[in-house]
Symmetry: C2
């Protein structure tokens, strides 16, 4: 179990809760999944999740433009709603900022966040503001879904097929470019082919998008048996999904959709330590969806939004092991090696 | 307008919202009040609020015991639900914490928070954990209330009577004792009369309580025309209530319920700069309720829980001024001088 999951278990124990369980008639799902589900007995359930985004931990003010910080902090939080199949509606913003950031920086931050809110049709419903030594953002998102339709991490069954949306490792490549590639996310103007290529590669890291439409479709049509978003890396998040479902998995490494470096950047390959499979397995912040589908439901997937960007990467198995199958290296156990704030 | 209110207005503008307004059929009340109100068309509304509690800003790890930090952070957040008349049900905890605090400190913190949760019958529904350089806590609380019964800041009318619950300035006195009184909130064992007196005075600062029962009663019986909690000080919070209602107020300074220093501490009076009225007017964190009642509803108050601890301190007036009437000094304008993170 990764460090963060251990800490969540410890918090749950302090409150005498079981992770992933239903606790009261109104709380259909509590601590341990992507989001909590509140039912008020009507046709709709509310889905709630919160997410922290901190200067020095999740972003650097000298590398990340303020509008990216605003945009991404809301998208990250909303991704937990996509992971349940819910449609985002409202959010609460807790913003702690140094007084020196209340000028231009705050203006750009709010513009970025407002752009993300418009694109996801979310309304700011409230919040709290205070001063601090570093920027600290905490966002609570509220989504809605038809009663009982939310997809948790816990429904995967042996034999189910495992899918991911999109390409994995893109956000990690963007981060590597920012940190090791001697480029900045600020005030970039693409002039050369290389500049334009870099700009394109930074985008998934600076301005990610979530798979809201896909998540909602999978929930509405009851196609996914289990689902979560890939925020900390496939190896870590697949382990969490399997743990919640009490199952194992077999993944074909050749099937994993990895990043291809544009020709204009082929010379940067070494400096970037470009390992597409490692980035796809352990890179975080892609906000793609990881979900399982029973074999008899698999053909329904053809009607899913963005079907051509879905990839079956393996199968759910009995037992607990997560096995990576590589045509050259053979079988190996896939351990959680993604982002873990409390990892050793 | 105080600095924090200005910042809230700026955030609202960035999202093209009006503070205190209803924005969609599901969002009955948005940014600018104590909490947001979500309606899903059923008999009950959900009330949501979030609150930040930061090391170095709101508490000091060398002065405040970890269990007080856990206890108080949840009570503070729940106080915004009391302020609407809602009954607390669930909360989400965003906890950013240095790795060195994940041992004993975290255990005590969680024990304090669990104690507060039990006392208010709240269930932890989810959250997020990450590492950081300093402890940063953000809590989102969810309460419920009968549809349409939540009491906002905006309903006060000229002629309404202004009430507060409890005694004001107690939390400020506790803070002053901790900061200037050369005492610590940690591991205190009351032996002498003075020690016991200090312990009693620290309590409202370290382990505050909210007026949940009173708030819910005032809402259920439609007795309060406007309500909020006093978290930043009477002068600041009364100004916010009056601004939201578009009214002024006249306050009798002699009527304000102030702290009386116990005899055992009479010698500390000078060192503590003990000014009971100033503490009551501008001291924060009392989490008492400030509410207005029309004259014809005033007699109903006799049936309110804790009626004998309610005090009428003044009246709502036309205009915008908040006037303090002192039998010796005469009339003066009461300006917001409570806690303001963005004050000059």
């Amino acid at each position: 179990m990764d460090g963060e999951s251990k800490l969540v278990e410890r918090v749950a124990r302090a409150f005498r809760l079981r992770t992933g369980a239903s606790h009261t008639s109104a709380l259909r799902l509590g601590i341990g999944d992507d989001a909590a589900i509140l039912s008020s007995g009507g046709k709709k359930d509310w889905v709630l999740s919160c997410d922290a985004f901190l200067e020095g931990v999740h972003f650097l003010t000298d590398r990340h433009p303020a509008d990216s910080v605003g945009f991404k902090s809301l998208v990250r939080a909303a991704s937990d709603l996509a992971a349940m199949g819910a449609t985002p509606r409202f959010f609460l913003l807790t913003l702690a900022i140094p007084v020196r950031r209340t000028g231009t920086w705050l203006g750009e931050f709010l513009r970025g966040m407002a752009r993300a809110a418009r694109s996801m049709k979310m309304t700011l419903a409230g919040g709290d503001t205070t001063k601090s030594n570093a920027v600290s953002i905490s966002i609570t998102v509220v989504g809605e879904i038809a009663g009982g339709r939310a997809v948790t991490r816990a429904g995967a069954r042996p034999g189910d097929l495992i899918y991911v949306s999109g390409t994995l490792g893109r956000a990690q490549l963007g981060l590597d470019l920012l940190v090791h590639g001697n480029v900045s996310g600020k005030n970039r103007r693409g002039v050369s082919a290389k500049d334009r290529a870099i700009e394109g590669l930074l985008c998934p890291h600076l301005y990610p998008s979530t798979k809201l439409e896909l998540g909602a479709w999978l929930a509405r049509h009851r196609v996914a048996s289990a689902m979560m978003d890939i925020s900390d890396g496939l190896s870590t998040d697949l382990t969490r999904l399997c743990t919640a479902s009490g199952v194992g998995a077999q993944i074909q490494s050749a099937a994993i959709p990895v990043v291809v470096l544009p020709a204009a950047l082929s010379k940067c390959r070494g400096r970037l330590k470009f390992h597409p499979l490692q980035m796809a397995l352990h890179g975080g912040e892609d906000y793609e969806l990881l979900f399982t589908v029973s074999p008899r439901n698999a053909k329904k997937l053809h009607a899913a939004p963005g079907f051509k960007h879905l990839t079956q990467i393996g199968k759910v198995t009995r037992g607990k092991d997560i096995v990576l199958i590589n045509s050259k290296a053979g079988k190996s156990r896939l351990k959680p090696q993604g982002w873990d704030p409390f990892g050793s």
